[in-house]
Point group: C2
Chain length 355, copies 2
DNA sequence: TTGAAAGCGCTAACAA
DNA sequence: TTGTTAGCGCTTTCAA
């Protein structure tokens, strides 16, 4: 392991000052001859500028952090691949953390990133707005992906706030703008409202009236869209949530099927929940789509493997990651606008007419 | 965004020298009173040591790099989760890169890590031994996970080398030691030999004689184990490879089924290949397990969702990642030994007697 | 266009 | 036990 050449080595070998080397290598002004000589020497010495020195000098680490709840959720893996693709093309490192959907772990990871002076972050958030305040106050450039932090429960119980949110979800037909946020953070999300609405309408068209929704952490916007799509009166018993683990998703699905045998269709808010729904249905001898129709949010490779293949609402996970990375990188100066990407209903075989 | 306190601020506020602060915070010796005072001031100032300064000083970035071919391959995601879990408990950052199975991208990412002075790396390698030499020469502590770099093709064609490798695979019944390597790098792998052997024996027991193997990049040890398990004469036409993409895996599977309608069982070398096999079988109207029995390497959540649920050779992806991270972190001084973890045949419903 | 020099925040060698 | 000091490799004024 020979020692790597430093800028000083290059400067000496080229007979110039270190400042000149630095300039040449970062595209500053220099006479053609000097530039050439420096470049030649640098190449000859196999010089690679150390990010360490640069980082300390600029008091910031390049690249970006990426926080997701769980990589074995294929949607998050797709998202991560998108982020990585963008980062790679920019030559920037990505520091990854998995939060398990736990706000506390999320906070710890943010602390770690702060310690590393990573000041750009893409996150599929688990904590609420309150828990994100510190990161923002510390000056991080944050972009949320896939979902937004929940409004703290104190406000959540506030009827006025709920009313505002509901209102936002009711008006207009244009792609839903991100709901009003106290946090001024750009985000990249799918158009959940339209995705859910399309799914519900499709099921309606097949004759389904008792449609259930199984959600996980962070699926509250989808749940709200579901409430809106089914319209009043909303049967709240048909809306259930898991806590994020596969076990709890299964429990939620299984409990739902057992307590409400009258339901004829289910919308799963994410692929882990769809998985759970398929499993629970089979365990209870419910045939898909004969006994129950199923639409899953997220298109994942295995959706096609199921028998029957699953009808899904596809969201462009990879694109979302890529766009988020672009946002967080090109955040020079003016605040980037949030982006909402379209979803697509892919009809396969898991939905049928109501019997 | 207020400026963060530095060690100097703490030193001044506590009325001590910066060295003392550094010592106290890294567990060095100090008088109880001094320690207490420093700690108090640090807490009061919300001081967090900057990794930037420390890194530059020690000429190395903490944490570790992690290179995988593709996160949407659920096995890699599991592995990554294991690495992240270990890193988190150690408070260390993980810099992630996805190589798409391309040695060139892999090399570029290694270059990026070198630039960041990340000198510990866990990799599911894509390049061959030759392409890994630079990283090692640069002084990186590397641990390979899941598989080892291929022997460069020049040597691969060398009959002597092949003979040695074959020999290694033939003798003994103990968990296969990692094959002899020119690269002296520890690794964490599953006991592929025993896993494949168990799968093949199981199929044999069901009466299958024409058993095929579908592999992907990095599955050559599994293929070799397969050859060993089926024994002479090996029908090489029954051993096919994809290049890593889902499309090519599908093409390989589909081609195999069409060119050899006489086969009655298939072992897929990884979950992406298993996916492809299920898809191709269905497309060709082959019923599983009636027309063809299927065993897939990797246990992934969706294996249970298939109809019938897939019989798999499970390897402990998460554990493998965790162990790899331990190895690369505790690589203080003496070289850590490689570890081989056991696999487990999980019988579900995708295998049946030969008809 | 160029070079000298001043740090960025930290640790470790050395002195006291 | 403590403080002083010399850098780690780089960028960026500031002069020349």
């Amino acid at each position: 392991m020979e020692k790597r050449a430093t800028i000083k080595d290059v400067a000496e070998a080229a007979g110039v000052g270190v400042a000149t080397v630095s300039r040449v290598l970062s595209g500053g002004s220099a006479s053609p001859q000097t530039r050439e000589r420096v470049l030649a020497v640098a190449a000859q010495l196999d010089y690679r500028p150390s990010a360490l020195g640069r980082n300390l000098r600029q008091r910031r680490t390049g690249g970006m952090g990426l926080l997701v709840p769980d990589l074995t959720d294929t949607f998050h893996a797709q998202l991560a691949e998108g982020v990585l693709a963008c980062a790679r093309s920019a030559g920037e490192p990505v520091v990854l953390g998995s939060t398990a959907g736990d706000p506390e772990q999320e906070s710890e990871l943010i602390g770690m990133l702060l310690e590393q002076s990573v000041d750009r972050l893409i996150a599929v958030p688990s904590g609420d707005e309150e828990s994100w305040a510190p990161a923002l106050r510390a000056g991080m450039t944050v972009v949320f992906a896939d979902r937004l932090p929940a409004v703290p429960s104190a406000d959540d119980d506030d009827p006025a706030v709920r009313a505002v949110n509901d209102l936002m979800l009711l008006d207009g037909a244009a792609p839903a703008p991100a709901r009003p946020r106290s946090l001024d953070v750009p985000s990249v999300t799918a158009d959940d409202r339209s995705g859910i609405r399309t799914a519900v309408r499709y099921l309606r068209g097949l004759g389904h009236r008792r449609i259930a929704f199984i959600g996980g952490p962070g699926h509250d916007r989808r749940a709200a869209a579901f409430r809106e799509a089914v319209g009043e009166p909303v049967d709240e018993e048909l809306i259930v949530f898991g806590t994020g683990s596969r076990d709890s998703a299964y429990a939620a699905a299984s409990g739902l099927f057992q307590s409400r045998p009258d339901l004829s269709a289910v919308v799963a808010g994410g692929n882990v929940l769809g998985e759970a729904a398929v499993l629970a249905a089979r365990e209870l001898d419910l045939r898909v789509p004969r006994d129950v129709s199923l639409i899953m949010y997220d298109d994942v490779p295995w959706a096609e493997l199921c028998s029957p293949p699953l009808t899904v609402v596809a969201q462009p996970g990879r694109d979302m990651g890529y766009r988020a990375a672009e946002l967080v990188l090109r955040s020079g100066g003016r605040r980037p606008r949030s982006v909402v990407l379209p979803t697509q209903l892919i009809v396969r075989g898991s939905c049928g007419p109501r019997h």
